[in-house]
Symmetry: C2
């Protein structure tokens, strides 16, 4: 066991697109668990789009990250030392203690993981928060019916790729947008999206006019901005917007104008529903039961973009904000088996 434990701390607030200078690699001693605690050796932690707004010091309904402290967020690791009777050494667990090599927990916010089901990394992706976000957003809020048309933006991301495949499972026609040919190729050729477009080459409005001339029924929104306006324009009567994220806006220093066609919310009886998945964990069991089966039988594919070494976590996170990942972006900080 190393005797140095590294963690990534937030040391500044961004204006616009963040720089690596806002993060610091800090070294501490590996913590020693007290009675009731467990010490976890992390294998992976997650970098996610929602972390960008949490870097701002604004009163919001998700608390901002604290300056000078390690970034929090999803991580998976193995119990190295347990002084808690509920966890045995060697067990795999998921927790929210974030960007660090070692984590100390009192056992209250851990979820035990069965490492025989799937690689442990999937507990941060297709079988974890992003997969659950796709599932809850699509099935509960989007409520698709067979034959409907669904647009997913950020289609090659962890959430979007799962949402698109789930919409296929629901019997929908699925359109996806992403920002590179490689991403689009993955969605179209491997994930079964019916049509895709590159929003860097073609405006969402023009793409939708071409790919869905009769309109869409559900828009699973990961990006906001002009995708949202185009989707509102293309939605049919009683259409739904699953408002999951707005990554295209997270780095705006000044708020940009919103959709010019909001009046269509009335005329087309649209529903726009925002959600934050952490409110919904009472349905997590239902999700994992279904998603595990879909992963096993090959109906729900996933990819991971893994960056090695905790010192590269800021780079991984900023790369995620630039859209450099395909599938789930992870930072590997320890052994994963």
């Amino acid at each position: 066991m190393d005797d140095v434990a590294r963690e990534i701390r937030l040391v500044g607030r961004p204006q616009g697109f963040p720089g690596e200078d806002l993060f610091e690699v800090a070294e501490t001693a590996v913590p020693v668990p007290a009675d009731g605690q467990v010490l976890i050796r992390n294998a992976y932690f997650s970098v996610d789009p929602y972390m960008r707004p949490r870097m701002n010091d604004v009163r919001s309904y998700v608390a901002p990250f604290t300056l000078g402290e390690a970034m929090t967020g999803g991580a998976v690791g193995r119990v190295a030392v347990s002084r808690n009777p509920r966890y045995a050494e060697g067990e795999w667990v998921v927790h929210q203690l974030g960007w660090r090599e070692w984590a100390l927990s009192d056992g209250s916010a851990l979820r035990r993981l069965d490492a025989s089901v799937a690689p442990v990394s999937t507990a941060l992706g297709v079988l974890g928060m992003p997969g659950f976000t796709a599932w809850y957003g699509l099935f509960v809020l989007g409520a698709p019916t067979e034959g409907e048309t669904v647009l997913v933006s950020g289609a090659a991301g962890a959430v979007g790729s799962a949402a698109g495949q789930m919409a296929r499972i629901a019997g929908c026609r699925v359109l996806g947008s992403a920002g590179s040919e490689e991403k689009l190729g993955w969605c179209f050729r491997e994930l079964g999206f019916d049509a895709v477009f590159n929003y860097r080459d073609q405006s969402p409005r023009h793409a939708l006019a071409e790919l869905a001339p009769d309109g869409i029924d559900i828009y699973f929104d990961n990006v906001g901005g002009d995708h949202l306006e185009a989707a509102i324009g293309a939605l049919r009567a009683h259409g739904r917007v699953v408002a999951c994220g707005s990554i295209s806006r997270y780095n705006d220093a000044e708020p940009a104008p919103g959709p010019r066609n909001m009046f269509m919310v009335v005329t087309k009886r649209l529903r726009l529903q925002g959600f934050i998945i952490s409110d919904q964990y009472d349905r997590f069991g239902e999700f994992t039961a279904q998603a595990t089966e879909w992963v096993r039988d090959g109906r729900l594919l996933y990819r991971e973009t893994v960056v090695d070494g905790i010192e590269n976590a800021p780079k991984a996170f900023l790369g995620l904000l630039r859209g450099e990942n395909i599938g789930k972006m992870l930072v590997k900080v320890g052994p994963d088996e």
Copy 2:
């Protein structure tokens, strides 16, 4: 019986704010009912904000008015001649045949009215479509709970004044906005709104910061525009927007930018739900049962702005779009008792 029947026809499409020249008073012979038909002598017809978007020749989910034909819309009148066994001469009926002195119906889209319950004009206002719009929007879509704070824009209009009072009945704190001191005085002193502001003197954002520093839970939107952005900013977690109308935008020749804070739909888990009341008439009986009681016991007050004479209907409608009415705007075109 006069032998001339006048009606108001739409003869042009507006660019921006409509002019009276888009309407024409046409004279025809009083129609003679065939077998199965009834001839109705109208007492009142309704001018409503939703009629403005229907003047445009755009494919929408509400069909545009047809050029050269009489404007359609809610009207109340008395059966003058009946050749339909289901309706007797002298009965009061509500119909959708609109801007005319005499209406000919096959009886299929008539609703019989009990004139002993309330003045027949209320069937076009507090006990008709506008009241039902308020009721459905507030109770079904807004789903208020006691102690919540509700903002109603267009608070002195037919829909807004009813929505505000219904929110009071639901035990909510009610804020209202309108464009004149007379309107605000009515809302505040007579209808029981807890606080009101004049959006011509104070931006909705500043007014909400002052009147609801802890935020609001429901926004009943009749106007769109900067009210909607301010409301999204002020809504608390799990807040609801009842998207009923956007009168502030109806006369824009070019679409104006939308809310700059749409990302808050996600962060605050907001729900924006548009609706068109004509979809919901299966609940009309439930509404009238409640609303009739509230009108009788004085908990649901109403006002009407009545313009006399069919030739003044365009003026009445354009006045409505300028906000010149208090309560329901009606055109009186015949005897009402």
